[in-house]
Symmetry: C3
Subunit: 318 residues, 3 copies
């Protein structure tokens, strides 16, 4: 594996999930694999779970880890080609990526979307430039349109806890006060479409995800209908794709509460975190027995470790 | 040991001091103990000594260390229960602590007081919530009312250097330009009360510490009287406890100078650092032979290492 | 080696270069040397290459590394002697350095010049205070007037790639929008003067470097003349030394382009990075076959590793 940015980079998703679950049981079996290998974790945006879980995964594999919050510890990157850099950007992504590739065997890279220019965001311009100019294998730590380590952890969580071969999995939009990326929702949809689940997406009018991510999912604006019989409910806000980056509604009535849970098949409730309590999800649900949010967070380690393991094995082959 | 937040968490203080002094002589004897164990160091406020010394202590024990300056690298935490999070706080301490507990075997946590709401500060609301929701052993890296790793290092320093079984130890208030927490003073008093010393506290009127910390100490507003015959003088500013968080005086005449030192029994001069030169302590004292501030800073490593060693041994038992 | 702040700290430059090139081939031969040794990397200014490459070098040597961005994670340092610290500076460099010396076996320290007070900057007041009060070996990660790890990496790069025993090496000033330190240019000149090269410096009028750095170099304000027959062209902006810290010209015509390269002996083009594309150097040069900027960045690791290796060997002797 030379890149991990989407489910499309994974040849055998079930095998990757199995490897992750296996590493969860024996975290240190591969600690010789990463010896003398350096992972760089480069953030252009803040991170809690992603940074900690990926750092831990790499250390479990015996890797050296260098963390760089480029937005805070470094300086503004120029990402446009051909410009005269006489403004506030200090370094071009070509050099920044190229330099980091000199120091790291594998790089994890996070860059959020602008939510202004949809074409650029959805072309993954910045992420792809980073990959190209770094010259080493790159793991997405969340890009403009996807958050694959999160989605893999989500899939692991469902696989561990599902009670039927083909559970009903519902992705529901939830209210928020700020315009958020579509990345987590896109990515979750992309991975659920690959799994053989009964997959449903529900959101208010105007919040349709891009068709390439919706795939074969059933889509409805009727949340109650979607929740009926759900085994897993994934709660997440996103801003509009069509009216790009906009918040179209305060989303009253869309928060997931115990009342709503009654519609489901005693569903496990998932969220990638951070979550706005009382707004996206009620306190009672988050503090109740159906919440799987800490399971998901825990599985971030094993998701990252399985991906890094595959990348390290790829390095050994060359 | 499952928590280290106060002297009250320590069953045998003398034993802990002995362990620390022993580790100082042989720092790497336990480097297998921390193998495959992760320490998270979570800061909601800046740190120099605490971060570096605790990180070093953990590495000496063979631990993996993850440092997170949550105030700078992360986002604002919500700490109130039951609120609708539609403002500027991005994540609740319940999830933040819970998630970190998924990734760390032991967590060090720093959170300063508000200096606004005394009841909340003195109930250690934030620290206690973090402990509760993290679900793993927690070391205080300074909380609203205490700084126990500092106090343990201070005790080690006195034990190493005392010339009599029961030295006279004086905690004196010193001037500052900003309102500072009472944590270091409280904590020092708490630990000195546990040691069998002649313990005296001196400060201007209005700066009495909370009674539970003063304990059996002799308290006087007459600094000269307090200093007479002192073997150790601990210099520290704190804001008022009674008129909570307020600066009541510019403290003229309270700085410790060579002139003042003449009143003492050639006392060792202590300060937790950072120190305001020329304001709390004269340059001549800090640069002179009586200053113990670097000894204290050095002992921060062994204090942290002794505490972490005990926690790691506790983990192995479970 | 107890200090690495200038070429003058190196007894045998050729030997140091050889050691670096040898470590590049076998990075892990000395990984027992740094066992149980801690390197502190202390930054008062931002860093990308220096931080990552030095961290990696130290890890290759088996050292524990603690990184501290004191400007962001810590607080403002007081560097003046004898002042009453009743303003915004929180800690004096005497204590800060002294404390870090308690925790680290070797310290790397970065502090940029004020570009306001030339005497203070060129006396290396802050760097020298840090060295004095830390009490341990110190590596400059760029000080007010020099960037020796960069210069050593530059020398390694030229030694690796030179086709004649005595190549023509040209240091040329380039345009920039901000007043930059003279450190990289000074330092490069200092190291080139030590090497037995044909060394030429070219810049617009008013940009003369300090005489102690110019040394035996040929200096000309005619860039074309300087470039003629050059084997290596080092491109770098600096602000005026004589009209201290000032930008005197927009430097039109001084950028290095393919057109300019035609004047040279198919020269390798060097820059310490970060580089302002289109301003200092044309995109075509940076993206073309003559660019050595990534070679230089890569050699930062081996430069740092050779220096740290020498310092560690020095520690073992004591």
């Amino acid at each position: 594996m030379k890149i991990f940015s989407s489910v499309n980079d994974v040849a055998d998703v079930q095998k990757l999930v199995s490897q992750a679950i296996s590493l969860k049981k024996k975290p240190f079996v591969d600690e010789q694999l990463g010896k003398h290998k350096t992972l760089g974790l480069i953030f252009l945006n803040p991170s809690l779970r992603t940074r900690l879980s990926t750092q831990k995964a790499a250390m479990n594999l015996g890797m050296q880890v260098i963390v760089m919050n480029l937005d805070k510890e470094g300086w503004a990157l120029e990402t446009r080609d051909g410009v005269i850099m006489n403004g506030s950007t200090v370094e071009h992504i070509r050099e920044a990526a190229g330099v980091m590739g000199q120091y790291c065997d594998i790089i994890g890279f996070r860059s959020f979307p602008s939510l202004v220019n949809r074409d650029e965001d959805y072309a993954e311009t910045i992420f792809n430039k980073f990959v190209k100019f770094s010259g080493v294998p790159v793991v997405s730590l969340e890009s403009a349109t996807r958050h694959p380590l999160q989605s893999l952890a989500d899939l692991i969580t469902i696989e561990e806890l599902k009670k039927t071969a083909k559970p009903r999995v519902v992705l529901t939009w939830a209210p928020h006060v700020k315009p958020l990326p579509q990345a987590v929702a896109n990515s979750f949809a992309e991975w659920m479409n690959r799994a053989d689940y009964d997959f449903v997406i529900t959101h208010p009018q105007g919040y349709d995800l891009a068709p390439e991510f919706v795939g074969d999912a059933i889509v409805t604006n009727n949340q109650d209908e979607a929740l009926a019989g759900a085994d897993f409910v994934y709660v997440k806000n996103w801003s509009s794709y069509n009216d790009y980056g906009k918040v179209l509604t305060d989303g009253e009535g869309w928060a997931i509460t115990n009342e709503k849970l009654k519609l489901t098949n005693n569903a496990g409730v998932m969220h990638c975190l951070p979550v706005r309590r009382g707004l996206e999800l009620s306190h009672e649900v988050l503090d109740g027995p159906n919440s799987l949010v800490l399971n998901q967070a825990n599985n971030r380690v094993w998701a990252a470790q399985a991906v890094l393991k595959n990348m390290l094995e790829g390095l050994s082959l060359t």
